[in-house]
């Protein structure tokens, strides 16, 4: 629904004044007086704190839980106005703000909301996601980490794996088995706990790309407060699935890997350049050369063309999903393909990138390769995880077949 334009205009006027008075000079471009000072850590902290005080770090959450209480229209204005002064809306814990927060709003009790949501908004707590286990990957519901009630606490034993940034996190939202006798989906609970307690061991995992943003986390008699169990006891699977929906939606707009693969629905239709360009083709040009204005390698050129065509269509599909939602139509069916398609597209982009670089795409470190080449090589390796993390492509195809197409079990 379109909002009355007067109220949006009033919001914009008030917001401009706020941004103007509160955004540190070094974090806008150009600064008010035309200078460009180097931002300090204090500048970033000040900006985050001032925005958080208004709830703008989690702009759509209700004000009573620390959020900004903004409508979609106001949120768009917030982003526009921040961009207008060359600044940005500060981000807080990705897992907290984008995944945990929405499910707490939907499933948590009042006390839990009041305790945890404002801390996310203020960026006080870094959250991580305790989902996969060594024995429970695609079959997530087969998880074995146990939680046993002991007075006001649960005692947790087991292990989680592929926990992004656990080594830099304060708290974990975690799926635990609270009823081992029930059918596997019916014995799972969703619980929150502090990682800085005895019995937690966190080991970063080195990936084929050399990066270590994933960890394995071990629990040995870890005590978690029972009041932080979210939703009904043994009713965690519903929450787990809802959170995965948020995760898959996020993964449709960003994937770690090579280059700027993500088409951005909010900007794509508005800022169409007069002369469209291909990032992949520009990357390839110095390595493969040109003939009659075309890339000299026709097979590579065709792969790039197909990729660009797919990216164009994918961006339009994101746009259509937004248009359909605005028109009040159900969009569940198409959003289920976004994670699948985006991850396969991102992997293909990385493969094409290495084909374009040739043997200059084989550098690991040291001399003979420039930093971009090495980043591309490592990004190519990292991209292989795109179709595994957050639900494998095979799981995504199962979801489409079952939930969208209604094919039988």
């Amino acid at each position: 629904m379109a909002e009355p334009s007067e109220s949006i205009d009033a919001f914009r006027r008030e917001l401009r004044t706020f941004l103007d008075e509160n955004c540190p000079a070094a974090l806008r471009n150009p600064a008010k007086d035309g200078s460009k000072p180097e931002p300090t850590p204090d500048d970033y902290r000040t900006w985050k704190d001032r925005m958080a005080a208004r709830g703008y770090t989690t702009p759509e959450w209700p004000k009573e839980y620390g959020g900004g209480g903004l409508s979609k229209g106001e949120l768009a204005v917030l982003r526009e106005e921040a961009e207008r002064i060359g600044s940005y809306v500060p981000a807080v814990s990705f897992f907290g703000a984008s995944m945990l927060g929405p499910v707490l709003l939907e499933f948590a009790n009042e006390e839990q909301k009041r305790e945890h949501l404002p801390k996310i908004t203020r960026g006080e707590i870094e959250w991580c996601q305790g989902y996969s286990e060594p024995g429970a990957g695609s079959d997530l519901a087969g998880l074995q980490t146990r939680a046993v009630r002991d007075g006001d606490h649960y005692i947790i034993n087991g292990s989680k794996i592929w926990t992004t940034n656990a080594h830099q996190s304060d708290w974990m939202f975690c799926l635990v088995r609270t009823d081992p006798k029930a059918p596997k989906h019916d014995g799972i609970s969703f619980i929150l706990f502090d990682l800085r307690v005895p019995g937690v061991t966190i080991s970063p995992i080195q990936l084929i790309s050399g990066q270590s943003d994933f960890c394995q986390v071990f629990f040995e008699d870890v005590r978690a407060e029972a009041r932080n169990l979210v939703g009904p006891l043994n009713g965690g699977w519903t929450i787990a699935k809802r959170l995965l929906q948020h995760e898959r939606q996020l993964l449709s707009s960003y994937m770690p890997g090579v280059g700027d693969a993500a088409p951005k629905p909010s900007t794509a239709p508005k800022t169409q350049p007069k002369q469209p360009r291909s990032g992949l083709a520009e990357l390839a040009r110095p390595y493969v050369g040109e003939k009659d204005g075309c890339l000299a390698d026709p097979a590579l050129r065709d792969r790039i063309a197909q990729w660009e065509l797919d990216a164009l269509c994918f961006g339009l599909s994101l746009k259509r999903s937004g248009d359909a939602a605005k028109a009040g139509q159900d969009v569940g069916a198409t959003t289920s393909m976004f994670k699948l398609y985006m991850s396969e597209m991102n992997k293909r982009r990385a493969e094409i990138t290495i084909s374009a670089l040739g043997t200059q795409g084989l550098g690991w470190s040291g001399d003979g390769f420039n930093p971009t080449e090495i980043a591309n090589t490592r990004g190519w390796l990292r991209s292989k995880g795109n179709s595994i993390e957050g639900g494998t492509s095979e799981v995504q195809r199962n979801v489409i077949a079952k939930r969208v197409l209604g094919l039988p079990d």
């Binding site: 050129r301 063309a305 994918f314 339009l316 248009d323 393909m337 699948l340 199962n398 094919l407």
Partner: protein, 379 residues
């Protein structure tokens, strides 16, 4: 512009679906084929379509059209694609008619387009000479003779040329084969001396013609647009036609996909419905993605054509490339998943496969359009 149908467009879609279900279901095409109908479609039904306003959707009211746009025409063509309605929208409206609209003088428009809108006049565009679509490959000569020209050459794959009242002929007034400059368009009556039109029956049960021009005399008033600058008109005509054909293919793709999913839910083998087998589920999921991407690129291209957006040619090629590949993928998968029954003439999947192949190779296949898309993206 939003990539969803407006309420009016949704009503148009429903009325088109109703009309086609009654007048041109897939069995209608089969009956025309089996009866070796000399026209290849029913002129009475075409006239009905004209009365519904479909033939004039993209033409201005001044020449009897509805003054609507590609978005609306696309809605109708998508429904035509679902029932394989073999009606001459491409030849008469999108190739012949739009060439006259974009290139013709006011006098030419007034003489030709009202008949197109009323369904009384059929047109065809005679441009292709070789087996592959290359818009500047024109060897047919137009030599100055007195106040006019004499046309000599051979045209193939002239869609609906066997029944067209008038042909728009691309001929060379300058330059040589493959050059963009030097192509001129002429309006030629089918009854002119020196024309031989030979009907060619195609795999999709539609028709084209081989047109032989042996010193056909035309007056200078038959020139459409500027002499030597016919390629300007042709490019716009081809872009619009590729987008419209994509809309027809989209309907075909959706129909075949839906029929296939329905078959997966009912056909039983090994004591189970075959849609429960993961080997088929995953391919169905891939097809679902392909249908969605085909849908959005077509909707966007139709809207871009109406808005006269920059980069329309690039979008036209994106749409035709995607739909050519999607139609091929989905008809081939549909046939495989239908098993032996899909190989029979009685089952309709084969009819869709045949139309998909013809549409794929009409106005350039996927490889042609990807190449053009790349060029228009600066590589």
């Amino acid at each position: 512009m939003a990539l969803v149908l407006t309420e009016e467009q949704e009503l148009l879609r429903e009325s088109a679906a109703d009309f086609l279900a009654e007048n041109s279901p897939v069995t209608h095409l089969r009956a025309l084929r089996d009866g070796d109908d000399e026209t290849g479609f029913s002129k009475a039904i075409w006239k009905n379509m004209a009365e519904l306003g479909w033939t004039g959707i993209v033409f201005p009211e001044a020449v009897g059209g509805a003054g609507l746009g590609f978005a609306e025409l696309g809605v109708v063509l998508e429904e035509c694609g679902r029932t394989l309605a073999p009606y001459p929208f491409l030849s008469t409206v999108l190739l012949g008619g739009r060439a006259v609209l974009l290139g013709g003088s006011q006098a030419q428009q007034e003489a030709i387009l009202p008949g197109v809108c009323s369904g009384d006049r059929l047109l065809a565009l005679a441009f292709q000479e070789k087996a592959h679509f290359r818009p500047y490959d024109v060897e047919t000569k137009a030599e100055i003779a007195g106040d006019g020209y004499r046309l000599t050459g051979e045209k193939i794959f002239v869609l609906d040329g066997h029944v067209a009242d008038q042909l728009i002929v691309a001929a060379r007034t300058a330059g040589s084969n493959g050059e963009r400059e030097g192509i001129t368009l002429f309006v030629v009556d089918r009854a002119s001396d020196g024309i031989t039109i030979q009907r060619t029956r195609m795999v999709d049960s539609r028709n084209a013609a081989r047109v032989s021009l042996d010193g056909v005399a035309v007056e200078s008033g038959a020139v459409l647009g500027e002499v030597d600058a016919g390629a300007d008109i042709l490019e716009s005509v081809f872009d619009g036609a590729a987008i419209a054909l994509s809309a027809e293919m989209l309907g075909l793709v959706k129909e075949v996909f839906e029929r296939t999913v329905a078959y997966l839910k009912t056909r039983e083998q090994f004591g189970a419905r075959i849609g429960s087998f993961q080997a088929l589920k995953h391919r169905a999921a891939e097809m679902f993605c392909e249908v969605e991407l085909s849908n959005v690129i077509t909707l966007d291209a139709l809207r871009a054509a109406d808005a006269g957006r920059d980069g329309l040619s690039r979008l036209a090629s994106a749409a035709k490339a995607r739909l050519s590949d999607a139609a091929s993928l989905i008809t081939c998968e549909a046939l495989q998943m239908h098993g032996g029954i899909g190989m029979t003439d009685e089952e309709e999947i084969g009819l869709f496969l045949k139309r998909a192949k013809t549409a794929e190779l009409t106005l350039g296949d996927a490889a042609y359009h990807r190449d053009r898309f790349a060029r228009l993206t600066g590589f």
